[in-house]
Amino acid sequence: MGFIGKGLFEGMVVTARNFVGSYFDKERLVTVQYPEERVQTPENSRTFPFLVYDDDKDPVATMRCVACKICETECPPQCIYIVMDRDEKGKPRQRPKVFDIDTSVCMQCQICVEVCPFEAIKMDNDYEKSQYGRFDELVEHLPDLLKSNEYYSKIKPTEASAVDAKLKAEKEKKAKKAAPAAAAKPAAAVAPKAVAPAPTPATAAASAPAAKLVIPDDAPFSPEQRQWLSGFLSAVSVGAAPATGAAPSTPAQAVTPPTTSAAAPAAEPAPTAAAPAGNWPWHDPGLGMQQRLDLAKSALLADKLMAAMAQTDCHACGYDCRGYADAIAGGAESDLSLCLPGEAETANMLKKLMEEAGKA
């Protein structure tokens, strides 16, 4: 039943159906009259990054960013520029002084968000960002980038609540680990090796495997070697910062042979909850390089290496600070320049320490 122009006629029927149908069927009328109406973008939608802070009263002090520079290194078009804030003496404060994002270069790939270990940088979904200039106006500086956690929860509720839960859990874990570690010192002094599992039961189950890796007394190693090996193996097998806090604390603490350690550690007062995890007094990001090295005067190479790092546990190198030090001392890691927050200072100090150790 084909007449000339049948195809054309059918086509026009389709067009007519669409036209008339657009008055009745929502699905056929797809135009949104922007800017009077706007399409609600889905939750996951991303445009440019911003930095999250936790407390409105002091955004700069409570921002989560510690200027570890991982996002700067991983950014494909290199659109981020960070300069760490230092005080008058040159000691690094763990936050950025300058944090520039060039939005004309940023390709909104979200890689900076994925690699940030501190949940500090997140993606915004604001797409109306045109400016009147091409250069300065498109660079966003630190004040423009800082936005509150409430704002983040408003634009991305599911993601923000997951991040909040994760940060809370991490904080609790750190607090729980600090308290029993303080109680562990007198107990550990009495029977250092056998009691190593005891401080850990209150903390997460992850620390239990670390306790199992303590080298027994009758292994053919010197006390120093035993202590280092316990720490190294627990760091390597568990791999997470909280779990390594408990087991190596005993080796770091009891450098002298077990029999004589009863007196000295028992006299020390328990540290406050804000003290660093484990018994590494140098593990404070607020201390300067020389202060940290002075505090780590013990004979263990791994301790000195750890003191040379930036103490942020940011996993920039692929480990936490203790794990990296143990890996270098044990020979598993030969790259000495992986500490991003520490920059050249740390790399040079690590090189110096390794050379000294090589000569010794």
């Binding site: 981020i80 520029y81 520039d100």
Partner: protein, 198 residues
């Protein structure tokens, strides 16, 4: 497909005088290649195309790789051909040909008379690496403009230092922007002064 050693034996018997080697890849990839010498590359390609066991009638990918001299090993530019068979649904056979890096000596026989699909890709290798394909019907630049000199994808290529604006400069870009007199934000310039003083 038979293992690569069998294929090599077959080719050595069929093409007189060909000197072939096997180049291994990562164990996971399982893609070893046959390295042919320049004089016999065309004959080897023709054999792969016409032999009824292989019938490699589809030349999928042609590319060049630049290897810089390392120690006392001379550098070379390697042209890689990936061949597949549409009629027998098999492949890939990977054919590699090497040439010295100096532009006057960097000549390789063109396989475009065998596979028309290699035409544009060989032109691209010529444009970006400086490999001259002898026997190519129309060898001229394809991606860069015709008056361009030098070969941009080589490892020792120096890009021109033209900088307009570098708001987030990094590492060597920072140094070169400073040398070229590029405009930078004040903080970047401060940091540059500090590194110079050190």
């Amino acid at each position: 497909m038979e293992p690569i050693e069998t294929i090599k034996e077959v080719v050595v018997q069929a093409v007189a005088g060909a000197q072939l080697e096997i180049v291994k890849s990562t164990p996971a990839a399982q893609q070893p290649a046959i390295l042919a010498d320049r004089e016999h590359a065309y004959a080897v390609g023709k054999f792969f195309k016409e032999d009824p066991r292989f019938q490699m009638d589809f030349c999928s990918c042609v590319t060049a790789v630049d290897f810089l001299p390392k120690g006392d090993k001379p550098g070379f530019i390697e042209v890689v051909y990936h061949l597949y068979s549409v009629s027998l649904k098999q492949g890939p056979i990977i054919l590699k040909v090497r040439a010295p890096r100096e532009v006057e000596q960097c000549h390789v026989p063109s396989l475009t008379p065998l596979w028309r699909g290699a035409e544009f890709q060989e032109r691209e290798a010529y444009d970006l690496y400086g490999v001259t394909f002898d026997g190519h019907p129309d060898l001229r630049r394809i991606l860069m403009w015709d008056e361009f000199t030098d070969y941009p994808m080589r490892k020792d290529y120096e890009p021109p230092a033209d900088y307009e604006w570098e708001p987030t400069p990094h590492d060597d870009t920072l140094q070169r922007a400073a040398q070229a007199g590029g405009i930078m934000p004040p903080t970047a310039r401060e940091e540059l002064e500090k590194t110079k003083k050190k």
